[in-house]
Symmetry: C2
Subunit: 320 residues, 2 copies
DNA sequence: GCCTCATTTGAATATCTATTCTCTATTGTA
DNA sequence: TACAATAGAGAATAGATATTCAAATGAGGC
């Protein structure tokens, strides 16, 4: 059969199939051609470029940025949230909402959720989550003790409790300070049966929700000599630390920066986190850019929820 | 779920489905969403205009013209053949080839083919047909006796024989003049057993291949007082006849123009033709434009094979 | 607050589509 | 001319997708 007529036939079949929405069998009856051949013609029509499928991203979605981030950093999934202005509070709301939606629509039954509690992003996320009707998750495990004064500490456990309530899961709290006064103090706290029980769950976690912190300036400022000694922080900084997840520090390339602090932190380690199938990092904002990049490069998270500005910067694109 | 996130999800699913070519079930595993929902999201993505399918007609094919003709004249199928120049011989070759392809690819098993023999278009068509390997058609029935001198007459029956050979069908010939000298002469010819047998097949025909003739100027000139009397032709013309199919005349609107001639023509009548499920008209060229339009308006044919120039004129479009 | 109606969801399944398999036929090669 | 390798078509069927159904949820309306 001559080429031109084959092309015509493909076009006609494509027209009947895609424009007129006929079944292949209807086309096959109509044109006296077997259904198998119709199927093959349609496939060839695609190969020939006669049929093309175009995906037009609706305003406010950024599949190209997401794709670029997945490709560049080997991430499983990325959600880029739209955000009108690049102001901290706006970004926080945007990524919180996005993370909430992501969480709601991807949480499966019987999941064991890990939550690295003290993070404005995660707080925003949990606030965005609607109560799930049917109990879905099994457990919500607090990944890190509370930080700073007791009020903030309780905040941390509340977040865990809240998420547990929303998902109908059992909360597993880490009723301890995130940073013990000393390695010895940590040992004592870890001796607590409840703390042990929670930490025992770490290895059963199926999805971890974590914030990503920047060392400079926030942690430095915020700390103001409470949990961390200036020496420790400066030491971390001197050794290249740029950010943290669960108070476990890493440098710009994502390599762990260990230190005496690790002996005092009560919470999940990076090694343990590495064994969790799905680690969702929720973070955005220019201030955290390098920390986020580090977490991505170090494969500390494999899902990222961020804002469009940060996403653009992470892919070296112009910000639009 | 907020609208923007729904749209994002549709986009993402569409991307995985169309760009990454994942199965719906793979997507459903990956995103923790049921396959049913993936299917629904894809459907909605189309409705939302996120996914669009574009059909790009290859050069030399004219789906838009074909569509316009189908719509305008209520045709079942139309093939518009490409044609470089608007010269009779070129047009003839183009539509002949197109008709041949159309025939080859749509002829089914057990079809009874009717062939209105004396037509340059049909000749070109039959010449373009490759011998079918497996016998397909059951019978090829000559729809009209031969015209003019015996050489031309035999031409007509040869065409039938040839098509029959190509399709492995049994030829049913009308070994008679297309136009008898008188009504009485017709009666005599129709008395012949073979002629009767062939005409008996008329009502079993599943597909009729017919040319479309123009009264002016061709028939008038061509005749030169052979089969038709000038009176008859002028009478037909006076009564609005503009063209014919199987020597059955019709006016510009496709209404039959009957006359004494009908009593003498040995061949299928328009009424009989109207009962054939698929009547394929093969014709093109400026000269025949009005005749073709008449045949279309009168629903005398329901499939048209023509050239792009004629197609454009039939749809009142500019010729390109 | 409680009920009704319209939606939404996933499991089961009906339907549609792609692929395999086999047969036929064709093309290039000796 | 005959032969092997190649290509193409449809029938059967494996596989994928759409739809149905039942259950559950949410949004008004009283």
């Amino acid at each position: 059969m001559s080429r031109i007529y084959e092309l015509r036939l493909m076009t006609r079949v494509a027209q009947l199939y895609y424009a007129n929405r006929l079944k292949q069998s209807e086309i096959s009856t109509r044109l006296n051609i077997s259904q198998a051949t119709i199927s093959r013609l349609l496939k060839r029509a695609e190969q020939e470029g006669i049929v093309r499928v175009t995906i037009t991203p609706p305003r406010g979605t950024f599949p190209d940025l997401e794709q670029a981030l997945r490709d560049r950093y080997g991430l499983t999934e990325v959600v880029v949230a739209d955000c009108f202005q690049e102001a901290e509070d706006q970004i926080l709301r945007a990524i919180g909402e996005a993370a909430g939606h992501y969480f709601e629509s991807t949480i499966g039954d019987d999941e064991v959720i890990g939550l690295s509690s003290w993070s404005a992003s995660l707080l925003a996320m949990v606030e965005a989550i609607h109560p799930l009707k049917r109990a879905k998750a099994k457990k919500v495990v607090q990944l890190l003790g509370g930080i700073g004064n007791p009020v903030v500490q309780s905040h941390a456990t509340q977040l865990t409790t809240r998420l547990a309530a929303l998902t109908g899961a059992e909360p597993m709290l880490l009723s301890a300070q995130g940073v013990a006064a000393s390695a010895a103090a940590k040992l004592i706290m870890v001796g607590d049966a409840y703390v042990r029980a929670t930490m025992e769950q770490f290895r059963h976690i199926t999805v971890a929700l974590v914030g990503i912190g920047a060392l400079q300036p926030s942690l430095m400022l915020w700390n103001s000599g409470n949990s961390f000694s200036s020496d420790e922080l400066h030491d971390l900084e001197a050794r290249g630390a740029i950010g943290d997840v669960c108070l476990r520090f890493f440098d710009a390339a994502g390599r762990p920066v260990t230190g005496s602090l690790d002996e005092r932190v009560i919470g999940m380690s990076l090694a343990e986190l590495g064994k969790v199938p799905r680690v969702v990092g929720v973070a955005g904002g220019a201030r955290k850019l390098d920390a986020i990049r580090g977490a991505l490069l170090g494969r500390i998270v494999n899902v990222l929820i961020t804002d469009k500005f940060t996403a653009a910067r992470l892919t070296d694109q112009d910000i639009s």
